[in-house]
């Protein structure tokens, strides 16, 4: 007993802080969240157990479906665009031919320093319906000004553009590191066999960066499922409630309408989706901690 304690003393000291924090701000809230999802808790007074009523209501609530579908649509639209643009830029910055790569990399990284809130403000300013630069250019070119924020799909498009702008740097960095690790001998051998650039890309580069690709796709999917700050400052879910994403829905029901139990049920649905995404990641991509 004594020696067991002695053997565990230092590992316990070293991991103690994280264990307490994990328990208080992760494990306990996760259990609490599941419990609240079965109650009518409002954040004050008592929580009455109501079984799966919240879930039944949730699955009949059109605004929940709308938020969920909008979020899926966001993830499905954003992830491929982010994937292609980050990979293309990483390839460009890794090529021997392009000049000014250092400066280019710094510029493409600038949005990384900017918070979701400010990114939203910047794009809102750029796309302003009556004063924005984009509509000005469109009108100078003889086009009709686009109602960027009163049309749900146009507003959605602006959110996507802002998200690509903000999300490229991180993903590009992942691809850059992966590209640097591909042995040059592979390309030399392919060249001897007379392979052209596109053959080299499809047969060498893409297979070699497969693990990174999975990581980027899954992190980007998880990230887009929980988008909040950017949307809140860019459109505030508008026009109307057309672009309310799921985290904003949880925030509104839980903190503005004070329906903690109901919001917790929505959280559990989001949790289930993220869990599935995470399990796919572990299954395909392996344990990234290794």
């Amino acid at each position: 007993m004594q020696s067991k304690l002695k053997k565990n003393k230092w590992p316990l000291i070293f991991t103690g802080t994280n264990m307490i924090l994990f328990f208080l701000f992760f494990f306990l809230p996760a259990i609490l969240g599941f419990y609240y999802s079965l109650t009518d808790y409002k954040g004050y007074s008592t929580a009455n157990f109501i079984g799966f009523e919240n879930y039944t209501e949730l699955f009949q609530d059109p605004s929940f479906y709308k938020a969920m579908l909008r979020t899926f649509r966001y993830a499905i639209t954003l992830v491929p665009i982010v994937y292609v643009s980050s990979l293309a830029i990483a390839l460009l910055l890794n090529s021997n031919y392009a000049k000014g790569k250092v400066l280019g990399k710094i510029i493409i990284f600038l949005p990384w320093t900017i918070s979701g809130i400010i990114a939203g403000v910047i794009w809102k300013w750029l796309f302003g319906e009556h004063f924005g630069f984009i509509n000005y250019i469109i009108s100078v070119a003889g086009g009709e000004a686009v109602p960027w924020f009163t049309n749900a799909n146009a507003a959605f498009a602006v959110i996507i553009m802002a998200a690509v702008w903000g999300g490229t740097a991180f993903n590009m960095l992942q691809f850059s590191n992966a590209l640097k690790n591909i042995p040059a001998s592979l390309y030399e051998a392919a060249e001897m066999d007379g392979a052209n650039s596109s053959q080299k890309f499809w047969n060498i580069t893409l297979p070699a960066i497969k693990p990174t690709s999975f990581m980027v796709i899954l992190l980007a999917s998880i990230g887009s499922m929980k988008e909040f700050a950017l949307v809140q400052s860019l459109t505030d879910g508008g026009p109307g409630t057309d672009n309310v994403f799921i985290v904003q829905y949880i925030y509104q029901t839980g903190f503005e309408k004070m329906r903690v139990g109901y919001a917790s049920a929505a959280s559990m649905v989001l949790f289930a989706i993220l869990l599935i995404l995470g399990l796919i990641q572990m299954k395909i991509g392996g344990n990234k901690g290794e």
Binding site: F26, A98, F109
Partner: protein
């Protein structure tokens, strides 16, 4: 290789250089333009901000928007709050992640593997999903509406722990064993030998942690109530969410809020854009 094909490949190289460099310039301009337009707008007087035809450069540049912004937001306090929470969280994150990552790398106990799986689980369940119950925990602990309420829950980061674990796994166990032979306690070994050699990881994680916390929005939004405790992001959001946006003040305030991280970026640019240690990082 005969002379003719050599010439063709030379020509091919030149075309590639021109094409790819042009592509890079266009992409860089696309990424730079929103920010440049925004910063230039901050120097336009209110009357010019919405006056058609728009011009890229301010016709009568003024710093007036900045003094208006300075007068309408309490920047010293907002920056103070944001800086305190970012720096303190980053410092505590480094200490906690380094010790925990070290334990995962160098001790072989069953419960450690179990806890490691728990930490992996946190990457799958982001705080956004459990914000309602976490809020209740924070209130019960008496952390509501205080900077401690945004600092303490943010210390535990799986990414930080993974980074240190990966680093310490690569350090030979012999180093630990021989120090133990010399009679050093595990605590001393960690603080005198291990922590100093982990400097590159400390630096990378510090930069990233500072960026996550400076730009953090959802936590401060939920935890803080009194405007005296607001961080810069929450204060700016109140300007964006206003019925009638005051663009002159909003743009200038936003530019001011970007400056601290921009400075960090300029100083540590090569650690941010080049480090291999950053693979797998996420806020």
């Amino acid at each position: 290789m005969n002379k003719k094909t050599y010439n063709i490949s030379k020509l091919h190289d030149k075309t590639s250089t021109v094409l790819l460099t042009t592509a890079l310039i266009i992409i860089a301009l696309l990424y730079l333009f929103p920010l440049v337009w925004f910063v230039l707008s901050s120097f336009k007087p209110g009357s010019e901000l919405f006056a058609y035809p728009l011009s890229v450069l301010p016709r009568n540049p003024t710093a007036g928007n900045y003094s208006d912004a300075w007068n309408s937001l309490d920047f010293p306090r907002l920056f103070g709050n944001t800086l305190i929470s970012s720096v303190v969280t980053t410092f505590l994150t480094i200490i906690a992640s380094a010790t925990c990552g070290y334990a995962f790398a160098k001790y072989d106990q069953k419960w450690l593997s179990f806890f490691f799986v728990c930490i992996i689980a946190t990457t799958m369940l982001p705080t956004e999903v459990i914000m309602n119950p976490v809020f209740i925990v924070i209130r019960k602990l008496g952390l509501y509406d205080s900077l401690a309420g945004i600092i303490i829950p943010s210390i535990n980061t799986a990414t930080g722990i993974f980074m240190f674990r990966t680093f310490f796994v690569s350090i030979p166990d012999d180093l630990v064993e021989s120090a133990r032979m010399d009679g050093a306690s595990d605590g001393r070994i960690f603080f005198n030998i291990m922590l100093p050699i982990a400097k590159p990881v400390i630096l990378t994680l510090s930069i990233f942690s500072f960026q996550w916390r400076w730009n953090d929005y959802i936590w401060p939004l939920i935890v803080l109530n009194n405007p005296k405790n607001y961080t810069i992001q929450v204060a700016l959001r109140s300007l964006v969410g206003a019925e009638n946006i005051n663009w002159t003040i909003l743009i200038a305030s936003s530019v001011v809020s970007i400056i601290p991280l921009l400075l960090v970026f300029i100083v540590f640019q090569r650690y941010i854009t080049d480090s291999n240690a950053t693979s797998g990082l996420k806020g």
